[in-house]
Amino acid sequence: MTTQNQRTIRFVRAPKFILVWFAPLVFLAIFYFYPLGSILGISFGREQVSFATPFLDVFGSASVRNVLYFTFWQAAISTILTLMIGLPGAYLFARYNFRGKSFILALTAVPFVMPTLVVAAAFNALLGPNGWVNLVLMEGFNLPQPPIQFVNTIYAILLAHIFYNTTIVLRMVGDFWSHLDPRITQAARVLGASRWGTLRHITFPLLLPSIAASALLVFIFDFTSFGVILVLGGPQYATLEVEIYYQTISLFNLPLAAALSVIQLACTLAMTIIYTRLSTRISRPLSLQPRGFTQKRLTSWSSRILASLMIVLLLALFTLPLLALAGRSFTRLGPERGQLGDVTRGFTLDFYKELSVNRRESLFYAPPTRAIAVSLGYATATIVFALALGMPAAWALARNDSRANRVLDPIIMLPLGTSAVTLGLGFIIALGRPPLDLRASPLLIPIAHTLVAFPFVVRSLTPSLRSIRPRLRQAAAVLGASPSQITRLIDIPLVGRALLVAAAFAFTISMGEFGATALIARPEYPTIPLAIYRFIPQPGALNYGQALALSTILMVITAVGMIAIERFRIADIGEF
């Protein structure tokens, strides 16, 4: 117990702890634990011989064993590849100052918030059969077929995963590394350790918790990857997530889907618990130093060349696919289906103009512009829900009662480790029947999005609430500010920016969410990612173009949200 807690001050006397937690916990209970419980209920509650029957069925099936094996295998390979690119990058950003660094750092945030469908479409626009690279090669060498097979191969999956998760390693390891006192390694060098010896005996062991934590997080994300594998991997690759989706949507085998979800849940839960443990270990290490102290300029030529290579690699990784996407969405290259004769190639706005046209004149077919409106509506609702629930939770966490936090923090983070597809399946099973039939409710999707956004919202609010040291409130009170003035002049200005950041997180996450939405959305109200998913596999340049146009719109919206996050995040607050 800290003395701060006992020094209860008249005007900031805390409401009862449990009251603050009430709304967030009730929300999680109804919309997280109850659906997951229903999945468990379906798995274990069937009339069957024993508890383990559904799992014996699952493990007994060779195809499911293959799915499990593939899920772990691709996650492991993806993680290793991500570390191989991320760690040198982390070193570069941690220890050196160079021109354009802040630009590249800002750029690294791009993939983190880019929706999977945008990324899938972007890689498709770059390396797919109708992508830039193949088109240029076909043109240049007069080839009848696209020479590069990328889409529907494992390489597409791995590359997209690297694109997504390199940022995690760059940021987590890089941030920790940048605060690590360089005098520690200098001391080792003075004591006679070689460069390599210092790295092996000093730097690496010190970085290990952060490397392990970032690797685990990358692994979790790769493990629960859904959209990338569905769109880029094609029908022959199925992870647990994809298999749950197929079983639910195509085969409507809910019991098998539920059993697969239970396995998925158990794996991610275990990994999330380990991750939470690891990340608390990073957050209290050593004597950390301010960045200005630990960083130097690139001086030698060899380091400049290596740094340039790294920078070019990262720039290519983060920008090429997205540039390809945006460019391709404005370029007509192939003929329209059934169209004969010469095609006018080059710049076109047709794909965007087509978006508002209901070409099929079908009642159930929604024009893509409706998807934009639907997505914006859901995102707005998500912001409201996520802030209303995230504020009290963050406030309670910021009070730093370590015993309660140890229990509640992982509960808050649970949705992060639970796959969106599992959430969607839980919603289908639990919220589609009495006592809580929300199938027809337009709130179902914002609720699912709120669950996904919740950990991000809480995590971005907590440090800022914590940064309001009790001292500042006391100082204001001593200077004559009444409790309401303290809230208005101290609390809200300090938290306001964090609120904007949290809202931007909720917004971008909702706009891009695919996994849960794919399972629970009603066909006549598709979101943008769903519309993209429908367009991509359809033949014809126009459909392909429209998919890319929608992806570009979503990319721009997401980028705006991301810029808002970067812009309003209070730089280095709570750091040094």
Binding site: R7, I9, F11, R471, Q474, A475, G480
Partner: protein, 347 residues
């Protein structure tokens, strides 16, 4: 009587008694230092006076009126925090103007006041600086300016120089004293550094384990420490147990060093303080101690020697030009017991 009065204040955190029956007064225009080691309850006392903390027992008066139930923001007291607690989202000017704003002072008047006070603390032209970019000394001055700006009837300073390095501290202590006198500011200054307390305060309250050990002017406290704790805290380490008796109307003390007459009229077990500066290297005189030099340290104007007398190590200061024997050699010290030996009132 104008000023602050604390009567028998108690405060406990769980089992720890942070403040244990503290009473003292601060008169109008007076600067009182609360001096004591860390954990002696100084900061808790400030928090109680500011109204940030409620006492378990005891009364608090301003100009004879009880402050009970008066919330912090109505007390019109200033408090300068040890870590300054500058508002990170406001610039220098807005930080300083905060208290004036709370008094609903119009903005043009506020700006004038901020300018004046920045000049007073030696930071003219700093209005638009970001507080996060200030150096430690500058932050300290801004914090001082912020707490002075609303002209509080009482200003409390909680170790205001504690987080600064030594050179800066010596300069700022002088400046701070100057500013407080110039504004005739009633103030309580909390510190663990006796030099700061002596340099700034009209009176000093020495605290230990939440209780008052001694109250007095700096001179008085240094010349007549009331207890072993105060003597040790001031660096007066020559404490000797003795037995006092009276013969022909004169009090004598019997110690392992010998028997000496003293001025105080006492009886029984007492503790003596031998002032560190009362010894001459000489064997001429009625009272001479024989000892061996254990350690000699050159300290600039003076020379400090630890001299073992009858197995008791005693520390004495001599003029630097005093011909002291080498370490390990014997020395004879002549002194005047009436001026050199003090009997502590409390042991």
């Amino acid at each position: 009587m104008p000023g602050l009065k604390l009567v028998d204040i108690h405060k406990a955190f769980n089992e720890t008694r942070a403040v244990n029956g503290v009473s003292f007064k601060v008169a109008g225009g007076e600067v009182v230092a609360l001096l004591g080691p860390s954990g002696c309850g100084k900061s808790s006392i400030l928090a109680i006076i500011a109204g940030l903390l409620d006492p378990d027992e005891g009364e608090l008066y301003w100009n004879g009126l009880s402050l009970k139930n008066m919330p912090t923001h109505k007390r019109d007291f200033g408090l300068m925090f040890q870590d300054f607690a500058l508002f990170p989202h406001m610039n220098v000017s807005d930080n300083i103007a905060f208290g004036l704003k709370m008094l609903s002072i119009p903005s043009d008047e506020r700006n004038i006041r901020v300018g004046e006070i920045l000049t007073l603390v030696g930071l003219p032209g700093y209005e638009n600086r970001d507080v996060n970019t200030l150096s430690g000394g500058e932050q300290q001055r801004v914090a001082l300016a912020r707490s002075l700006a609303p002209q509080p009837r009482l200003l409390m300073l909680d170790e205001p120089l504690g987080s600064l390095d030594r050179n800066l501290r010596e300069q700022l202590v002088l400046d701070l004293g100057e500013i407080l006198r110039q504004m005739n500011q009633t103030a309580i200054y909390v510190t663990h550094d006796q030099e700061e307390a002596f340099a700034l305060a009209d009176r000093v309250v020495v605290l230990n384990h939440g209780s008052v050990e001694q109250i007095g002017a700096p001179q008085e406290i240094y010349n007549q420490p009331a207890s072993k704790f105060v003597a040790k805290f001031l660096g007066l380490s020559n404490l000797v147990d003795a037995e006092a008796y009276t013969l022909d109307g004169q009090t004598y003390v019997k110690t392992p060093l010998g028997q000496f007459p003293v001025q105080e009229e006492v009886f029984g077990q007492v503790t003596l303080l031998l002032r560190p500066d009362g010894m001459r290297v000489s064997d001429l005189g009625d009272y001479v101690l024989k000892g061996r030099i254990i350690k000699r340290t050159f300290r600039g104007a003076t020379c400090r020697a630890i001299i073992e007398v009858s197995d008791i190590p005693l520390t004495f200061d001599f003029m630097a030009n005093t011909p002291l024997p080498n370490e390990g050699e014997h020395v004879k010290l002549a002194f005047d017991p009436q001026n050199t030996i003090q009997v502590l009132r409390k042991s």
